[in-house]
Point group: C3
């Protein structure tokens, strides 16, 4: 299996996992757990594709991901317990940062292909990276965490999306631009997390 495929699956699973946890903390049943996990994992990319009018959606052409989340939702309670045991907070933050980088750069690159102007393309990258979590919080009746916790999360995505756009403009090879920007987002996120940096 290629590296990108592994990271992709990891990013989707981490998103779904954060949906599992929030749904359980709201005492949702198995239907709620699946719905919230699914929306967290695919909400950002789906919103981007609807705004760009792009079809078919990612999870429609790759129904194996939907089925995987479905099967995990059926065993959510023991899955959460096990994952909590083997996954330290550090591991979760690292995987989540990788997911943020990958989702964001996938989003900005899709938007460029669709002919979006630069600022809009950068917004599409951030939307892909953070809107799954926003929709998760809206459906769980919470003010979205990413909009109020004052930690640099969307900002890291935004910075990395611009890095990608500028590298594209400068004629950097596409693959290198993509991977280095995704890693930059991941690194930036981890650095601000380690340092405990907060915005106003």
């Amino acid at each position: 299996m290629s590296l990108i495929k592994i990271i992709e699956i990891l990013a989707i699973l981490i998103s779904a996992f954060s949906g599992f946890i929030e749904a359980r903390s709201k005492k949702m049943d198995v239907v709620g757990v699946f719905t919230v996990a699914f929306i967290t994992a695919f909400g950002g990319g789906t919103l981007r594709d609807i705004l760009l009018d792009k079809r078919p959606l990612f999870w429609v052409t790759h129904q194996e991901y939907a089925i995987l989340i479905f099967l995990l939702a059926l065993v959510a309670a023991p899955v959460i317990r096990t994952l909590r045991k083997i996954a330290s907070e550090r591991l979760i933050v690292i995987a989540d940062a990788l997911g943020l980088g990958l989702f964001s750069i996938a989003g900005v690159s899709e938007a460029l292909i669709a002919g979006m102007p630069l600022f809009i393309a950068s917004m599409m990258g951030v939307i892909t990276g953070i809107f799954g979590g926003i929709l998760r919080d809206v459906i769980c009746n919470e003010i979205p965490m990413v909009l109020r916790d004052g930690r640099p999360y969307a900002i890291c995505s935004f910075a990395g999306c611009w890095m990608y756009l500028l590298m594209q403009k400068a004629g950097v090879p596409p693959d290198f631009a993509l991977w280095s920007s995704a890693l930059a987002i991941c690194g930036l996120r981890l650095a601000t997390w380690v340092k405990g940096i907060r915005l106003d």
Copy 2:
């Protein structure tokens, strides 16, 4: 008027009615009552059509339903009183179960026509059946009932959608597959309601 038309109108009215009740319980005005009733009745099908990129939307080609809900919203308070008098809880549950069956099977069959893979098609059926209620609860600032009450509702829809998909695969005549699956959802929902079955 054909039987399917009558059930369709009944399903839409029942959905709208549950929107009326929730909007009034939140002390909304006439604008809120109409908006919430409309979203409850058409939200599920509209979300499905946006995901499938299908237009025109059902309520656009059948504006008579929108007008009907508009007129009912103008007289919501007395309408709710009267309906509560003539409609026992049993009648409401039966009509709602009929609506769930009809909406779900309409959703899964639309998704098949649009070429969706099987699992995604079953999800589209469930989305059509339950997302009107989810959007109603989100706009009324509640955690969606269907995601947390632990009663088999989405599950009945899901089971019936697969019954339809398998009958289609097996070459059962389309009309028979459609009606028997819709009735199966309705029957399953009523059986679990009578027995008081709960999920975890």
Copy 3:
């Protein structure tokens, strides 16, 4: 700069401004302030375009508005303080009423061009006028103000949209129909505000 351009920018800024205020009152950070302001300003028109399946979206072809809101969000705290000093409540209500009129008539006229039937076209006008505020309140975890405060707001939009539709049918010159209806919505809104009229 043409008059319509000035009003358009004013309407967008006023919507964004109401988003700024609500986001700050929820203690959101700069990401939240931008997101909520953007959704308030463009949410109604975006929802209409998704329902009509029209692309590119307004803010995609006019990215200068997105950039403007972005820059204002960076300085939201002092901006809000300054605007509150120079903008009396009266001025805000007048600008908001102008925005409601302009957004609504833009919406109904887009819907007519897209071939919508009359009642649906009037709904699209109202959606364009009020859904930005509804989405703002949903994301801020509040029951939408416009659905429950009992003040004629959506109703003014609805009445003006029908005035526009009837003038179109009657063969009134398009420009005159557009401007007089937009002004009628604005006037109606201001009149009901001055008189303190409330619905049930």
